[in-house]
């Protein structure tokens, strides 16, 4: 199962796109190096991609990636090396890292991700301990994991402006908690460096800000390659003041759905694509694939039944959805063992360190795969960063190089987005007071 059997219906523009990406590799890497001179790279990031054959685009960018346990273990050295580079830069004198995970104690899959992260950072030579925000973790608590790994969650404590564990005063805090519910008081006004910064949390972050930054990055990149930016950039719009349960803001949604479908239809005509356009409607803040729907006509967002409205109305931590992203749907034409699949690419610092296919046997090529029942198939990861100029564009190493490039475009967009959020919310070290419930 290590080398997934890729079935991709590749024809037309994407082959051309991939050929151009491969041919422009030195220019692309040079351009990316210049970007990292201008912008600070986030500590880590994962990007969900969709490969439609005629189009290859990011659809979601996660600044608190879970799923490190799904990467192929034989490529852990890549992640370790990248983590060394990241630590060198962020805090060369750091030895102690405090990792703060999500508030899960029973989701062992997520906790395996935390254990994998701890492993990577330890192998990079750091002293790593895991501090939980959960009040019930009032003493060091060992959790046994199905893959044999163990994880100790410890209670966080505050000493003046420093955050600590018992007998552990870390120099840097690594968040693997997306702060959906806001910045808890214990994390406010902390003097240690926090990575990613607090304003990367979903209490501040908006997908629409990310994709606005991505739009600019994609345009510049498209110019470098001399191609249409649409080939790796999904159209999007955002609506505020939505109230699904109260049926407020449906006109905004319906209007944008219509507008995007019209624009996509024009592009499909231009490229002779016969697929049916669709649009993804999802919460502008939030993750875990909650609050996502796929629509093919504006009327669908006006005819939501109570169950659908309830499903869209609430995301993680029970937060009400008020702002919504309307995004061009990108078909996925990749399958793994006949199931629809989309690649997820993981980065630490500016390096691609692995990836996997998110696979769903119950979903279609125009549906969200980040849903219960999904499975993970590690990418054959010797390939992603190793394009073979002699091979055909659709041979896996070349496909994966293109994935790595598009994922890194999203990473550049995330860096710009964070700069802009920082400017908008004040000092990066000043946590934003959020209206969260916890």
């Amino acid at each position: 199962m290590k080398v997934p059997h890729l079935v991709t219906a590749l024809k037309g523009p994407l082959l051309d796109l991939e050929r151009r990406v491969l041919a422009a590799q030195p220019a692309i890497e040079h351009w990316l190096r210049a970007k990292w001179q201008e912008h600070s790279v986030p500590f880590y990031c994962s990007v969900d991609l969709r490969n439609a054959g005629f189009k290859l685009a990011p659809v979601d960018t996660n600044l608190f990636p879970g799923g490190f346990n799904n990467l192929s273990p034989e490529f852990t050295p890549l992640a370790v090396q990248a983590a060394m580079a990241a630590v060198d830069k962020v805090c060369p004198d750091a030895r102690g890292i405090l990792l703060i995970p999500e508030n899960h104690t029973r989701n062992v899959f997520y906790l395996q991700n935390v254990a994998a992260l701890v492993g990577i950072l330890r192998q990079a030579g750091m002293t790593v301990r895991t501090g939980s925000l959960l009040p019930e973790i009032d003493k060091p608590t060992e959790i046994a994991l199905p893959n044999g790994a163990g994880l100790v969650l410890e209670p966080l404590r505050r000493k003046g402006n420093r955050i600590q564990l018992e007998g552990f005063d870390p120099c840097v805090v690594l968040l693997n908690n997306d702060l959906s519910a806001g910045v808890p008081p214990i994390l406010q006004d902390v003097e240690q460096a926090i990575m990613p910064p607090l304003h990367a949390g979903w209490h501040v972050r908006r997908k629409s800000n990310h994709f606005a930054a991505y739009d600019r990055v994609a345009r510049e990149f498209a110019e470098l390659l001399g191609i249409d930016p649409w080939l790796f950039n999904p159209y999007f719009e955002s609506c505020g003041k939505i109230d699904f349960r109260g049926r407020q803001g449906e006109e905004c949604l319906a209007g944008y759905v219509d507008e995007i479908l019209r624009d996509v239809r024009a592009k499909y005509a231009e490229y002779h694509i016969e697929e049916q356009p669709f649009v993804i409607v999802k919460a502008d803040a939030g993750t875990y694939g909650m609050g996502v729907m796929s629509v093919k006509d504006a009327s669908e967002v006006k005819e939501l039944n109570r169950k659908q409205r309830n499903k869209m109305a609430v995301v993680k931590e029970g937060l009400e959805v008020r702002e919504v992203l309307v995004q061009e749907g990108v078909h996925t034409f990749e399958t793994v063992n006949d199931a629809v699949a989309e690649p997820v690419v993981y980065m630490i610092d500016r390096f691609v360190v692995g990836g996997f296919y998110r696979v769903h046997t119950e979903r279609g090529k125009d549906e969200n795969l980040n849903a219960p029942g999904m499975q993970f198939v590690p990418l054959a990861f010797e390939s992603p960063c190793l394009p073979d100029l002699a091979g055909a564009p659709d041979c896996p190493p070349n496909r994966f190089y293109a994935y790595g490039v598009v994922a890194r475009l999203a990473l550049v967009a995330a860096a710009i987005e964070l700069e802009e959020t920082e400017a908008a919310t004040g000092e990066s070290s000043m946590p934003v007071q959020a209206a969260g419930r916890s």
Copy 2:
């Protein structure tokens, strides 16, 4: 053959040493990070280690490593990532790298190394072309290699203070030529950055300077770990004004051989080691395992016959040996398929990126293995940087972590050595005029 079958006679201090190295991993990595704040890391480096069971030490440090073709191809991504980090630092705007190899056109094994290096740098997104110092390369010359790779050697040319190829003005020059014969005029007063610097060449470099720096690094490291530095540091002395053919300087040699054997005997007694001490006598400048002999008694260096004297008198490029390093011999107790083996660790920037065992079926555990008939077995390289704290010290990942640490100590020593040579020879950009023959 990928995972070599290690047979090591491990007992006593090394197990203890490895246990301490593993336990001190965060302290070691932190200490190494601090070193790279103080010193510029060479672009690349390979280190020959000897593992005597009771002692693990570097015996040779190469600043122009050949043998990249002997690394396990599945770990090329590590080398690519490290090369990206190195390029970022040395020359963030660089896109064009000019690689200058040794003057070999028929040594296809060496040329496979050059092709492997070109591959790594291309995969890191650089435009790489190979310029030859050989006068007979007067036009681009394609060389087919046994492993299927191809390599094009092109004639170098000078335009003012820039070194170029036809239609190629690189921003950085990467030397894979050790300048044994001095700095050729075409490389003098070049305005582009040259990596490693010209004074890293064997026309300037002396092993005794390297091991003097290593001695200080090893002492500091030993203090960090609270152990005897001798456990990873071979004794050495150097003699100048040697003339093997004219039988000059033999007293100096014999005296130091005697002194070192006496010191080693005392250490062997201290650690209850029953092996017979030996000493390696080798040219203080130069490589390729030429001009090396293994002696067990001072009388042996006084009783050299004409053939032995001739063999010691001349190294690569026909250069006369005038300065000699007398170094404590370190037994190798490792074998691969019953043949004596020593590990060689490769680094790019500050990262361990691979390694192999140099194996020789015709040599003993107290002999130089860098000799005709040697073979190469790639290290199972997921392991080297991934110590498993739960495993025994002698399980391969832990053995390899210790190898990576000792190799990186030699890398720190190389960095210090280069600083000191730079200070001694003037500006790094001022090539040293050498008395070479070409």
